[in-house]
């Protein structure tokens, strides 16, 4: 092969590997670039300049850290309590199992993975609730499923040569919950009192068709066709012995609503509809009348994308009624930095030679157990996530790196112990000129924001709310309760796509973020460790 052909081949293969990463080759590249760590001291001037320019805050670091740690504990307490019902009374024969939402798997929005405190008591089909709201049922317990690992001859040979390894066993405490939003999910419902004072039994499951992406649950086979208003509760009185549906009786599903919505008004659809309708002319009035449709659906009380903490309704083992108040008070609560899953990290270089990225490098790497996505914190503040772990050092995308996204909980500054607002996933757009963090928030339709804003305001009028932003559940190797900063949520924020706001949502200016000065700690374990006693079942202790 000529030198020219070899060069082109190497460039082509490198380009392919840059676009389609391949594990063993990445490891090889890590080894080749290992000496680059020695160049880190050259980055000292950049680090010093960045530290000098970072916005300064008043007060001693120790005092601030103590205050923020206390707020984090209050947030955790509020989230833990938010999973417990306040209006609905738990049946005395129900002994709920506490669970925290883990990282989402794949793209499915209708299944969430939950890490439960007591996996032995969880069974398939048990109802799952968040506060007073029914959200779905246990659909899969991966650890109890037979292993699908059936290696062929080649795979066995690869394993013998240590070139391959068997798939990891799923965590013992992980269960999958199929949300009621899933197209194949059904739950019995009952409207106790509709607009005419009648009750109406119906079946709920999947999403109602809406042309405007508003999230409404679909109803099926309603007892009365005229029912269009009222609160819908779970009602499954005909549960069989093995059916746990009855345990969720009385939990709310949402509020039944009706709306006239316009169908997509295209010429081709009109050409199809006109002969069927018998419309006499092509006027706008007759066309719009025909192209509207009445939709009846259920508006849920919660934002399904922002679920953090749930209860699995499992039956009690004993005959005695369960003391739920005591269970709630005795829930284990571990401060986020004290669960043993953290290790110190030293800053090597701040800044990136690529002008549109904001990254830094730390001295911890794969050899220390670091993996992609691990959180890097400064005190209790989130500084970034590991984007490229290498053997002896790692690149970290900071919270200021455009595109950095994070699940966020907003805690009202006026009442830190109140249930926080699950804001969904916010995306960083970098830094403003004053050094504050810019986060793009797209309030989802079905979001709890308007109601939460009212609760957090006085006098029954919605107004801007001062909040502290924290990480929420559902991210790989990023625990809940890490501080992102302080921001003001505008009262006029509306779900994306509505007339009142643009498709872009709103841009939040977040202050008191991580300064990127250190000292840092990095997450060496998963998002959740001992926070719900998951280690009690024989899992390896984190390093």
């Amino acid at each position: 092969m000529s030198s020219r052909a070899a060069t082109v081949t190497i460039a082509g293969v490198s380009a392919l590997l840059a676009l389609r990463p391949f594990g063993p080759m990445d490891r090889l590249a890590d080894l080749v670039t290992l000496p680059s760590r020695a160049a880190a001291p050259l980055g000292l001037p950049a680090t010093l300049v960045t530290e000098f320019r970072a916005p300064k805050e008043s007060g001693a670091d120790e005092t601030r850290l103590a205050g923020e740690s206390e707020l984090s504990v209050q947030l955790e307490e509020a989230v833990l309590f938010s999973a417990w019902p306040t209006e609905v009374e738990l049946r005395p024969d129900v002994k709920p199992v506490v669970g925290e939402v883990d990282a989402r798997l794949g793209r499915s929005r209708d299944v969430i993975r939950v890490r439960v405190a007591d996996p032995k008591r969880v069974e398939l089909g048990q109802p799952v609730v968040a506060g007073d709201v029914y959200i779905g049922r246990v659909s899969r317990i991966p650890f109890r499923e037979p292993s699908a690992d059936d290696p062929g001859l080649l795979e066995r040979l690869m394993r013998a040569l240590r070139l391959s390894s068997p798939p990891l066993e799923p965590p013992r405490d992980a269960v999958d919950v199929a949300l009621v939003t899933g197209a194949d999910q059904r739950v019995g419902g009952l409207v106790l009192e509709d607009q005419e004072g009648n009750s109406c039994a119906l079946v709920v499951g999947g999403l109602a068709w809406r042309p405007d992406d508003v999230v409404w649950l679909a109803i099926h086979a309603p007892e009365r066709r005229s029912t269009s208003q009222g609160v819908v509760e779970v009602s499954e009185p005909l549960g069989l012995d093995e059916d746990f549906g009855v345990l969720g009786e009385g939990f709310k599903i949402g509020r039944l609503r009706a709306a006239e919505v316009a169908r997509p008004d295209t010429d081709s659809e009109w050409a199809f509809m006109r002969p069927l309708s018998g419309a006499e002319d092509d006027s706008r009035a007759s066309r719009s009348e025909l192209m509207t449709r009445r939709i009846v659906g259920i508006q849920s009380y919660i934002d399904f994308r922002g679920i953090n903490q749930v209860l699995v309704l499992a039956p009690s083992e004993g005959a005695e009624p369960v003391d739920h108040d005591r269970m709630r008070e005795e829930m284990p609560l571990t401060p986020v930095l004290q669960d043993g899953g953290w290790g110190g990290a030293r800053l090597l270089v701040t800044g990136d030679a690529v002008p549109w990225r904001s990254t830094l490098r730390v001295d911890r790497g794969i050899r220390d157990g670091l993996e992609v996505g691990a959180a890097l914190v400064e005190g209790v503040r989130l500084a970034g996530r590991v984007s490229d772990p290498r053997p002896m050092a790692s690149a970290v995308a900071t919270v200021f790196d455009p595109g950095f996204s994070v699940n966020v909980l907003a805690q009202s500054e006026e009442d830190p112990k109140a249930p926080p607002l699950a804001m969904g996933r916010l995306t960083s757009e970098g830094r403003a000129a004053d050094g504050s963090l810019l986060l793009r928030w797209l309030p989802d339709r079905g979001t709890a924001w308007p109601a939460w804003a009212l609760d957090s305001s006085t006098g029954g009028r919605s107004r801007d709310v001062e909040v502290t932003l924290w990480t929420g559940s559902g991210m790989v190797r990023v625990p809940r309760g890490l501080r992102i900063g302080r921001a003001t949520l505008p009262a006029d924020a509306r779900p994306a796509g509505t007339a009142a706001d643009s498709e872009e949502g709103c841009l939040l200016r977040v202050e008191e973020t991580a300064s990127l000065r250190g000292p840092f700690q990095v997450r060496l374990g998963g998002a959740r460790l001992s926070r719900t006693d998951a280690l009690a079942d024989g899992e390896a202790a984190p390093r």
């Binding site: 030198s3 070899a6 060069t7 082109v8 190497i10 460039a11 490198s14 380009a15 590997l17 840059a18 676009l19 990463p21 080759m25 990445d26 590249a29 080749v32 670039t33 000496p35 680059s36 160049a39 050259l42 980055g43 001037p45 950049a46 300049v49 960045t50 320019r53 989402r104 793209r107 270089v349 701040t350 800044g351 990136d352 030679a353 690529v354 002008p355 549109w356 990225r357 904001s358 990254t359 490098r361 992609v372 984007s387 490229d388 690149a395 970290v396 995308a397 200021f400 790196d401 455009p402 595109g403 995306t427 757009e429 970098g430 830094r431 403003a432 000129a433 050094g435 810019l438 790989v476």
Partner: protein, 188 residues
């Protein structure tokens, strides 16, 4: 051994250049998705300048070796993946080497062209890698970092311009960096 130490020195000079570049960027506006990042792009890509100067001394046949050395030097100062850096560096080195075969890269027009076009291709390549990887990660629900929006496409153009200016002004110094002589092959 002599040539190996030459490649090590190239890696060092690229690392030094990137460290200087990161320090200059630290004085600039903060990173954002709009004009600030384009303004930050006024800082020249000094690593590319060193690479092109090394190619000018050594020639196209060592393009891969120089690109690997440049990747090792640059990897300490960027979150971009090593293979993205390597592919970009090979293209820049090969381009400069090919131009150098037509005429001496020491000529102002050629050194400005090779450094400017090299920086432009390198910047656009890194943007393209981010674009593809972020797009695929979003489609599959996987974790991703970085964001590419239309205004950022201008940033490599700005960098290319300033890089070309630096190559024009500082060429004698870049050409005379200690260690490059070790890489030259004797003709006789």
């Amino acid at each position: 051994m002599k040539r190996a130490s030459g490649f090590v020195l190239v890696a060092f000079w690229v690392a030094f250049a990137c460290a200087l570049q990161v320090a200059l960027l630290a004085f600039g506006p903060w990173v954002d998705l709009g004009t600030a990042s384009v303004t930050r792009a006024l800082v020249p890509d000094l690593g590319i300048c060193v690479l092109v100067a090394a190619v000018a001394r050594v020639g196209r046949h060592d393009a891969v070796g120089l690109a690997i050395a440049a990747t090792v030097g640059r990897a300490a100062f960027t979150g971009a993946t090593p293979f993205a850096l390597l592919a970009g560096s090979i293209v820049v080195a090969y381009l400069a080497g090919s131009l150098g075969r037509m005429a001496e890269l020491d000529r102002p027009f050629l050194r400005v062209t090779s450094a400017g076009v090299g920086a432009l291709l390198f910047g656009w390549w890194l943007l393209f890698v981010d674009f593809v990887r972020v797009g695929e990660a979003r489609a599959s629900g996987a974790l991703s970092f970085g964001e590419v929006v239309a205004p950022l496409a201008w940033a490599p153009l700005v960098t290319a311009f300033t890089t070309a200016l630096v190559a024009f002004a500082l060429w004698p110094m870049l050409r005379a960096l200690p260690g490059l002589r070790r890489l030259e092959r004797s003709v006789f």
